[in-house]
Symmetry: C2
Subunit: 344 residues, 2 copies
């Protein structure tokens, strides 16, 4: 039998390959694999959305600098973020864990304290899960369930030429926070007597990677201002990867204005300190868990003055490609260089 390495397909290629033969059988399945969440018909006025994620020690998190409580919070937040990306409100989660015998009840209490804090903050109920042992390390699988009125659910596939491309919050901070933590870890590994140095001025960068927030506030803001984005995705793998997803699903292209991509001052400073271009951190870094969405230009007045929302580009025809218009006036093609958990 031939042997094809999974790395040759990449994460999205692999999912596409493995699920390509699956058919839709149930009329209640409105949307299956391929968006931030599946959509399920309820028979009532609302539809249910379901998303699931797996987090693996040594791949997605490193206990050298990840407090268990933050990890519990983040495991919930990243799944809630997928529900937000559908413009739905999260309501229930299940949490399954596989743990090695290295973990004590007290350690798990810390982890669940983080889950509890996230449940409280996002108003979701923990309704199920599974606990089992692992041979090595911690494995976390969270499923989030949300709902929204039928007409409000937003997919990746609805962007149209002329739509405005918008971003919530700020990008690149999580990536730079991770680089700082990794640097401190290397210093510590080289000399265990050196205490890791967590500088106060990097507080927001550390928080971005260790304790991200899902943008449930944006879902509320859209509802309050009577906005339904034409397409939406959460920014987990970097802006480049996500705008490509939207363009591919919608059959369009996009032009992003570098100058209008929101990047915090401290992230800009830190990027330059690392010898990196800040826009590269926004495009190719990951784990920001902000929302990338498009709106019909007729809605522009509705969002122009909303807080923490940035109009960063425009949807163009597919044949015009997916491009970055730099502050220097150049045009670059945007290629996917997001996280690939199968590499390295």
């Amino acid at each position: 039998m031939s042997r094809t390495d999974v790395n040759t397909l990449g994460e999205f290629g692999l999912i596409e390959h493995l699920t390509r033969t699956f058919k839709k059988r149930q009329p209640t399945t409105v949307l299956g694999v391929g968006d931030d969440a599946a959509i399920i018909e309820t028979g009532g006025n609302e539809q249910i959305v379901v998303s699931t994620d797996m987090l693996v020690e040594g791949i997605h998190f490193d206990f050298a600098y990840t407090p268990l409580k933050h990890l519990g919070y983040k495991a919930v937040a990243v799944n809630v973020s997928d529900i937000c990306a559908m413009n739905a409100r999260p309501q229930q989660i299940t949490v399954s864990i596989a743990i090695s015998n290295r973990f004590s009840v007290e350690a798990l209490d810390e982890f669940y304290a983080g889950i509890y804090a996230a449940c409280e903050n996002y108003g979701v109920d923990l309704v199920g899960g599974d606990t089992t042992s692992s041979n090595k390390g911690l494995y976390i699988s969270v499923t989030a369930i949300g709902r929204a009125p039928k007409g409000r659910i937003t997919r990746r596939s609805g962007a149209k030429v002329g739509d405005l491309v918008c971003i919530t919050g700020h990008l690149g901070s999580a990536y730079l926070g991770l680089q700082l933590l990794e640097r401190e870890k290397q210093v510590f590994l080289a000399n265990p007597n050196m205490q890791p140095e967590m500088k106060p001025e990097h507080k927001d960068l550390y928080a971005a990677i260790l304790r991200p927030e899902a943008r449930t506030d944006m879902v509320d803001l859209f509802a309050k201002n009577n906005i339904v984005p034409t397409s939406m995705i959460d920014i987990s793998d970097g802006l480049a990867s996500e705008i490509i997803h939207i363009c591919k699903a919608s059959g369009v292209g996009a032009i992003i204005e570098e100058g209008n991509v929101p990047i915090k001052q401290e992230a800009q400073v830190q990027a330059i300190d690392f010898g990196m271009d800040p826009i590269t951190c926004a495009l190719s870094g990951g784990e920001d868990y902000e929302l990338l969405f498009t709106i019909d230009p007729k809605d522009v007045e509705k969002i122009r003055f909303l807080p923490d929302l940035y109009i960063s580009g425009e949807i163009v025809a597919a044949e015009d490609g997916i491009k970055l218009h730099t502050t220097g006036g150049n045009i670059h093609e945007i290629t996917a260089q997001g996280w690939n958990h199968f590499e390295g």
Copy 2:
């Protein structure tokens, strides 16, 4: 900080401990942690049930004798079984996997062929999931979603004194199949030149452990015959553990008649061959994925002649305990000795 080993609490004690402080916030959450599945209100005539399970290589399955296709099938079946235990029909699943680089695309194709076969057999749609890498081994997390009209959903907690205790199918076969496979594995490990001997007469025992079926047919049978069990659970950890769950949740006791516990002829023969009592395999073995349920005695005529259904006992008052009435005329207390994945 003190350190309490997770083994001291056991799987159910640990879940209870970790989730004890969690509150219900959403009015759509009808039932949370503590049954085979959570129950969620839809706003329509039906309710949704959600269950999730994690399967870990080396803990729940062993590639020395588990074909990947069977494993894919089983991963779906055991979750569908939890949906059946709520008297609901499965409709959607999500499948997340963490894999080491030992797995090729071809190996995953085999695994997903099993998932596909199960989806086809149970009529469920694969609507989402996640694929990531693991440091070692295969981790599988499946979430199943089902639905049923509100009045038909069956919990563990509804058994009443005088109800009949019923079992579908046959018990103990999966446990004995596992023992046979483990014995062949040991022979092979001792002498790699010895081919494992899969005797044709053990076919059903191997199938019980390697490719169990969820009893969706029973959910259909109940609906067709206008039966709503008063309580139900699926038998994943052995009859003893499950009847204790029902009794504890319902605040009752039970008496099980040894002579009326269904055990296949070949399982009886094999148990004796291993020097074991067949009823012990039924009580303390696991992974049969049959249904244990109780019915109101007024429904007895409805089920008396249904296929593959056995009336095996009666619900009694809590103070009368949970007992086994042996064929020899003795009365034994039933204690939980089901699988404990944290041991060994």
